[in-house]
Each structure stands twice: as structure tokens, then as C-alpha cells.
């Protein structure tokens, strides 16, 4: 059987009500893009306690991959990508509510621009300020950060543009590129594995864009225990990459 067009991977540690909202919005976006039947939505239950109820996940139109032991974010994504191979992977956080137009726009951009391997999405916080419109890199210890973060979204530019990286909160990746790079690096506890992936992709000649046409909602960092894993991830990222990326922010 040939791989489907798209596998959407959503790791989740609990947070069922939020996850159901996320799946609902995702389903509408897949319908709007006309790719619902060609897509697999994969929820990775990353050792939730109690486990995510299979019936409710199935009712939301998603497949469930239950991990009994907790794994890093990267491994959760890699396992799902291996289980449901596809021509494209959409990494999505469970606290992102995509807009109906979002997936169509992202797939459209990859369709139009064959040299683009990764496409990110513009996202806002519930108060309408920008959560993500592309990632830039500052000098010294500043490292990667979200451009224009917390600025009022309605005043910020809306032109699709190229970046060195985009957030994995909602990131569309060509399947061939995912395979070539071996997925996300599982050395990262939680955080910056997405940026590491983007930098490796660019080293192989791929371009990265952020779609700015629609703005999805991202609550950000809702997963319990996230904060304490950020710091070692950042330390690992900087030890590998500081001085090896160019400065554009």
C-alpha cells in the first residue's frame, strides 16, 4: 500500500479536553484542504496517567499509539512517523488549534516550491499577540528565538518568508527529508529538537518557509513538567550549534 499524503503527529501527555479541541480543529482544516481521506492523524499517548481513552481518540478520527513508558518528544514523534509513513508529516502540539485554511496553505506552499522542505505556521496567543511567525538567531547566548513574539499580530507583516527555522508546534515536513535526516534527534529531552532538525535540513540544501496567511491559536507550553526539561535541551542545543548558525536576529 502506498503511503498516504499526510501523517499528523500529536504527542500528548494527558490533557484530553485540550486534545479533543485540537483534533476537532485539525479535522476541519483537513476537510477544508480536501485531504481528510488521504491523511492519518496519529495521537501519541506519551505515558499519560490515566491512559488516553482509545474510544474518544477514535471518535475524533485519530489513531492512537500508546507508550507505556514516557519518552522524549522526539522519540514520540519518530515512533509515530515510523508506524504511519507518509509523503508529508505534520508535527503538531496538542495545544494548537489550527485554522481551517492552515493545512491547505502549508501543503500548497510545499506544492508550489519544490526546494522548500519544511513549512511552519503563523500562530497567536489567545490575546491575539504573535506566538510564532518564524525563528531567528541572535548573537552569543541569545540563540534561537521567535521573531516578533508577543507583538500584536494584526500589525505585523503577513508575507510568507524564508527562515532558518520554524517551530515544531505546527511544522509540515516532506517525508523524504524526514527519512534523509532520520527524524528528530532523540538526545533532546524536550524542546529545540525542532530547531535542530531545521538547521540540519538547511545544511542539506532545503529551504524553510513560514506561512503567514492564517493564524492558528497556540496556548504554548501546556504540558506538565515542560519547564524543567527546557533547560537541559537548551544546553544541549547550544553546545552543538552555538557558533555554527549564522546570525539573523
Amino acid at each position: 500500500m502506498s503511503p498516504k499524503l499526510l501523517t499528523v503527529i500529536i504527542p500528548s501527555l494527558g490533557m484530553l479536553p485540550m486534545l479533543e479541541q485540537c483534533l476537532d480543529a485539525l479535522g476541519r482544516s483537513l476537510e477544508a484542504a480536501g485531504v481528510r481521506e488521504q491523511s492519518t492523524v496519529a495521537v501519541v499517548d506519551n505515558a499519560s496517567h490515566p491512559p488516553l481513552p482509545p474510544k474518544r481518540i477514535a471518535a475524533a478520527g485519530a489513531e492512537l499509539l500508546r507508550l507505556d513508558g514516557h519518552h522524549c518528544f522526539a522519540r514520540a514523534n519518530n515512533l509515530a512517523a515510523r508506524r504511519w509513513p507518509a509523503k508529508h508529516y505534520l508535527m503538531q502540539n496538542n495545544d494548537v488549534l489550527v485554522q481551517p485554511e492552515t493545512i491547505g496553505e502549508m501543503l500548497g506552499l510545499l506544492g508550489r516550491m519544490p526546494q522548500v522542505g519544511i513549512c511552519g505556521a503563523r500562530m497567536v496567543f489567545p490575546d491575539g499577540s504573535l506566538q510564532h511567525a518564524g525563528v531567528v538567531f541572535g548573537p552569543g547566548k541569545k540563540g534561537p528565538y521567535h521573531l516578533l513574539r508577543t507583538k500584536p499580530s494584526h500589525l505585523m507583516p503577513r508575507i510568507d518568508r524564508e527562515f532558518q527555522a520554524v517551530t515544531g508546534g505546527c511544522m509540515l515536513i516532506r517525508g523524504e527529508l524526514w527519512q534523509e535526516l532520520g527524524g528528530l534527534d532523540e538526545d533532546y529531552p524536550f524542546g529545540l529538537e525542532d530547531i535542530d532538525f531545521c538547521l540540519r535540513a538547511r545544511q542539506s540544501g532545503q529551504r524553510i518557509f513560514c506561512c503567514q496567511g492564517s493564524e492558528s491559536l497556540h496556548f504554548e507550553a501546556m504540558t506538565p513538567g515542560r519547564a524543567k526539561l527546557d533547560s537541559p535541551s537548551r544546553a544541549l542545543f547550544m553546545s552543538r550549534w552555538q557558533g555554527r548558525y549564522t546570525i539573523d536576529g
Binding site: G140, Q203, R244, T246, I247
Partner: protein, 293 residues
């Protein structure tokens, strides 16, 4: 894919010009990276070009890829890769072997290099040109008419003589500074003195023109196409240059100074990154079409 080889990420105009060229090509759909020992990326100017380790690049480059060089000693190791070869010609010193090598495509930055390759070596070249970082273009910052900037790395003796002769100016050396600091200094300075006689590579004067400085330059090899003596700058032999700059700084010449600065800025706009992109976009439809393969 293009692999652009550089020997270092350190502060040198050639490094920046290489990155700016690659940034424009990548944004126009020609896939590429810069290869530097240790995968070290320059931290002293803004850009977004990916960098890979030179050793890794030499291992993974294939005959279908492009190996770009700009530093003459890179010819032998890159020739050994079997990749398609091109030289981004920024200067004319020690370029004999490269100009004489029939399989190296020549992409020239300056008219002087272009002329030499065509006239002396009978080579076909593609004039790709250069650009000035957008950050240099003056945007109404306060300029101090009596502040003069210079780069002491080459021609310090000339700068010292000028400083003694023209002590009404405050002299500011620029060396080892990152691009934002150079921008700020040039945007504040009223005068830029270029002291490197016979310079292969004339980018700093162009950056100073973009920043709205009155440029006084000794004769150079690279960049003479934009230095128009008496129109948008002063160009002369060192002794005479200092004398003419002194005359130009007389209070009665304020109007002429301002006119020259305006003309300098107008000239520099021909070298804005958008201008480079436009030129390369056109070339990628013609003689550089193969770079998108």
C-alpha cells in the same frame, strides 16, 4: 547543490561578500551552503546562510554539485572532488591558475577582475557584482561633519599623515568590529578615508557611501567603477588626497560636501541587496541556469 568554500569565518570583506552572494542565490532557489573549517559560522554580520564543516563538505560533494571557491589555494582540493567548479572572483591577486583553468567558471564581482579575465586570459565571465548590507544605508541618523573614520589595517601611515594634517577632524579607527558597530560608526561619520593603495577589494568605501559619508580614497583596483572622483567622492594619490580633503573640509565647502554625500548614497543604491538579487535572478534564467540543478 552549491558548496561555497571559504577558509575562515573571521572578519574579512571577502567572507561577507561570499555569504551575501550565497544568501541571494539561495533566496532565488539555487540550493547551497557555505563550507568552512569546523562548520564555524560568521558571527560578525547578519545573514541566514547555512554553514557546514569543510571536511564533511569535501566528503559529500558529488560531480553533480557545484564547488565554489574564492580563495586561490582552494583550487587544487576542489578540483580533486570532481565537482563542477566555479570561482567567485573577488580580487585579481594570485588568480593566474584559476583564470587559466578552462573548467573553472568565472563569476566576477568587479569590472577590473572581469576585464583582466577577458582581456588577458580570453575567458568568458559572468559579472555577478556585489552588494552592500542593507544595514549600512543611512536612514537620517545624525551625522557629524567633522568626524572621520578609517580602517588602520592597511595604509595606517597615510591615515596618520591625514590625522596630523587635518586636525580639525576627529579620527576614528575601525578594526576588528562587527558589522553593526561599523554601521553605527559610518552612519555617524561625515568622512571616510580609504587608505589601502591598490586595494583588490573595495567594499568598505562602498559601505561608507551607503552610510552617507564623504569618501576620500587612494587609487584602488577593485571598485573603481563606483568611485567617481569629484562627483561622488575624492580619489587621488595619498599626498594630494590629504590636501584635497583639507580643502573640501573648509566651511565654505559645506554645500559641496553635502552634494557629494548625496551622490555617494545614490551610487550605493545600485549595490543594494535588492539590486544584486535582481541581477542574479536575471542571470539564473541565462548563464547561471545550471546553478539551480
Amino acid at each position: 547543490m552549491i558548496y561555497y568554500f571559504l577558509p575562515t569565518a573571521g572578519i574579512a570583506g571577502g567572507v561577507k561578500v561570499g555569504f551575501q552572494f550565497m544568501e541571494a542565490l539561495i533566496s532565488l532557489g539555487a540550493p547551497g551552503v557555505v563550507a568552512i573549517p569546523g562548520g564555524e559560522a560568521p558571527q560578525w554580520f547578519a545573514c541566514s546562510v547555512p554553514v557546514v564543516d569543510r571536511g564533511e563538505a569535501l566528503e559529500r560533494i558529488t560531480p553533480q554539485d557545484w564547488a565554489f571557491m574564492t580563495w586561490p589555494p582552494d583550487l587544487a582540493p576542489l578540483e580533486a572532488t570532481g565537482a563542477r567548479l566555479a570561482c567567485h572572483v573577488q580580487g585579481v591577486t594570485n588568480m593566474e591558475k584559476i583564470f587559466a583553468h578552462p573548467e573553472v567558471h568565472l563569476l566576477t564581482c568587479w569590472e577590473s577582475a572581469d576585464r583582466l579575465a577577458r582581456q588577458e586570459y580570453g575567458r568568458q565571465t559572468v559579472m555577478v557584482g556585489i552588494c552592500v548590507s542593507a544595514a549600512f544605508f543611512a536612514q537620517g541618523e545624525v551625522k557629524l561633519d567633522n568626524e572621520a573614520a578609517y580602517m588602520p589595517r592597511r595604509g595606517l601611515g597615510i591615515a596618520t599623515k591625514a590625522a596630523h594634517a587635518l586636525d580639525m577632524l576627529n579620527w576614528w579607527p575601525m578594526d576588528g568590529l562587527d558589522e553593526p558597530k561599523v554601521c553605527r560608526r559610518l552612519q555617524r561619520a561625515g568622512v571616510y578615508l580609504a587608505t589601502s593603495v591598490g586595494e583588490d577589494f573595495g567594499l568598505p568605501s562602498l559601505e561608507a557611501m551607503a552610510a552617507g559619508c564623504l569618501v576620500a580614497s587612494v587609487p584602488v583596483k577593485g571598485g573603481m567603477e563606483y568611485l567617481r572622483d569629484g562627483y561622488n567622492c575624492l580619489v587621488d594619490e595619498p599626498e594630494r588626497l590629504i590636501q584635497r580633503l583639507g580643502e573640501m573640509m573648509h566651511p565654505s565647502q559645506a554645500g559641496r560636501r553635502e552634494l557629494m554625500r548625496l551622490r555617494a548614497r545614490a551610487t550605493a543604491f545600485d549595490y543594494h541587496p535588492y539590486a544584486l538579487k535582481r541581477r542574479l535572478a536575471h542571470l539564473l534564467e541565462g548563464p547561471l541556469k545550471g546553478l539551480k540543478d
